[in-house]
Amino acid sequence: MTGIIGRGASLLTLFLAVFLSGGATSAAPPSPAATPAPAVSSATLTATVRSVDAQARALEIVTGVGYALRVVKLTWKEAPTVRAAAAGTGVAQLKPGDFVRVEYAKAPEGNVVRTIKLLPRPAPEVAR
């Protein structure tokens, strides 16, 4: 493959593959210890909040490629702080429809949230 396809598409494919598969972005090297720890990799997704249940420690986000949409289910051990313009936002303050960037670990018990950033709403459009 050359030109446009070569660079553009391969980057896009990599980007999207990480998006949907929740693939590893910084997989740790295998531990040399005698008892191998379960493989944990991390992934980052920019997505829309579908639901949040702070009591159940459950966050669902929607992502996808074109019309192929997927829900990614996440949980947490300690309530993560949501980085946002307003200080002190907690995960319970997230609402369906919010745009978020979530970094999480893919662990045997599921996708475990590491950080959440609440993204600002897009700037108001220019009036014609």
């Binding site: 446009i4 494919t13 999207l16 598969s21 074109g66 019309y67 949409l69 220019v126 009036a127 014609r128």
Partner: protein
């Protein structure tokens, strides 16, 4: 001696460029290099490749190939297939695309193996859906140019609060990661590449590297043994080639207006149709010279507009049930059915069914003298 000769050569070049015949429907953009032309040709083969269960089709699907739905009069043209979308518009004003329940595209066909396993002929719509929408198959000619229009150009037409009081209040849709959307009847998808790649699993049931898992059956996993082809069922190179084919398809040639239709563009402006169906957009920078800094006679602003309750169906992203992206009118000459679901049998009927923000323009069209209406319709039929 050299100057006049070189001037002559430049003049001849300009003349030949000016007289160059525009590409016929289905041909590639003018100005592609040899490698791009090769990608176009090879991508067309995959675009028309018919998948079967043994090569990855299904187990849920709407069509067996890209070309099955985009076929008239050429590969990349319109089709008579109509698919079904369903979502849930929630009381808090947000839209659930039912992604955990197989949504929002509900496939209308299944492979024999899935039928044997579940006894279904198509994917069932979940009870949670608040609306269904039918979607016709548009042509995709010139969509590479739409892909190359900068976000800033699209946003320059937005006026969500109707500050200029013209009754038109277009606003952009956003994908689930917040990027500006432009493709699809609700302007959900930001880029042509994503639209194309996502179409393989959703429309044909063929998994690709970016979407390596099959669609579910309304949220239930595919039964074991029904789809034995290893995922992904299509490799990245093939996906990229199909994308190159669609991206490099030339837009329909400019209409050659004769007689009364020559007054069409002026009437289109006068009635206010051009406020949303913006006649020309301009592309920005592109790694493909043939796509960079070109005018595209798209007749769309790629924004969402309220079309009124009679046309309303599903929500999607930020789009409410009654909001639709302004349909690009380039390629209108190939259509036999009109509007997003093909409910209109003629352009005139489609105009008559416009509601919401389009009411004033619709009514202005309706009150034109008959000869003017005919002139405008004659113009539209040539787009």
């Amino acid at each position: 001696m050299r100057r006049p000769l070189s001037s002559l050569a430049v003049g001849a070049l300009l003349l030949s460029a000016a007289c160059a015949k525009p590409p016929e429907p289905g041909e590639p953009l003018a100005g592609l290099d040899a490698a791009q032309r090769d990608q176009f040709d090879r991508g067309k083969v995959i675009f028309n490749r018919v998948f079967e269960p043994e090569t990855g089709l299904g187990p849920l699907f709407n069509a067996k190939s890209c070309g099955e739905c985009h076929e008239k009069p050429v590969a990349g043209g319109v089709g008579d297939e109509v698919e079904v979308h369903a979502t849930a518009f929630l009381s808090n004003g947000t839209c659930d695309p039912l992604a955990d329940l197989g949504g929002f595209v509900y496939q209308q066909h299944v492979t024999p193996a899935l039928k044997n396993a579940l006894g279904i002929d198509k994917e069932p719509i979940p009870a949670k859906a608040t609306a269904q929408g039918r979607r016709s198959s548009p042509d995709v000619l010139g969509f590479g140019l739409l892909d190359a229009v900068p976000d800033s150009e699209i946003l320059s037409y937005a006026d969500p609060d109707d500050r200029n009081h013209d009754g038109i209040s277009g606003r952009p849709n956003r994908f689930f990661d917040g990027r500006l959307g432009r493709f699809g009847r609700k302007a959900l998808v930001p880029t042509l590449a994503e639209f194309n790649e996502g179409a393989f699993p959703v429309e044909i049931g063929v998994t690709v590297p970016a979407v390596p898992d099959e669609e579910t059956v309304a949220g239930q996993p595919i039964p074991a043994g029904v789809d034995p082809v290893p995922d992904p069922e299509l490799d990245a190179q093939s996906v990229a080639l199909v994308n190159a084919f669609v991206r490099f398809l030339a837009p329909p040639s400019p209409p050659r207006l004769k007689g009364a239709s020559r007054r069409g563009p002026e009437l289109f402006e006068k009635t206010g149709c051009a406020a949303c169906h913006v006649p020309r957009l301009r592309t920005g920078d592109s790694d493909v010279k043939a796509l960079a800094h070109r005018e595209v006679a798209a007749y769309t602003d790629l924004l969402l507009h309220d079309m009124g309750p009679a046309l309303a169906d599903i929500c999607l992203g930020l789009a409410s049930p009654s909001e639709f992206r302004t349909e690009p009118l380039m390629g209108l000459r190939f259509s036999e059915k009109f509007l997003h679901d093909g409910r209109a049998g003629s352009i005139e009927e489609a105009i008559r069914l416009h509601g919401g923000e389009a009411v004033a323009s619709r009514d202005r069209f309706a009150t034109l003298p008959a000869a003017d209406r005919e002139a405008m319709l004659a113009f539209l039929k040539q787009l």
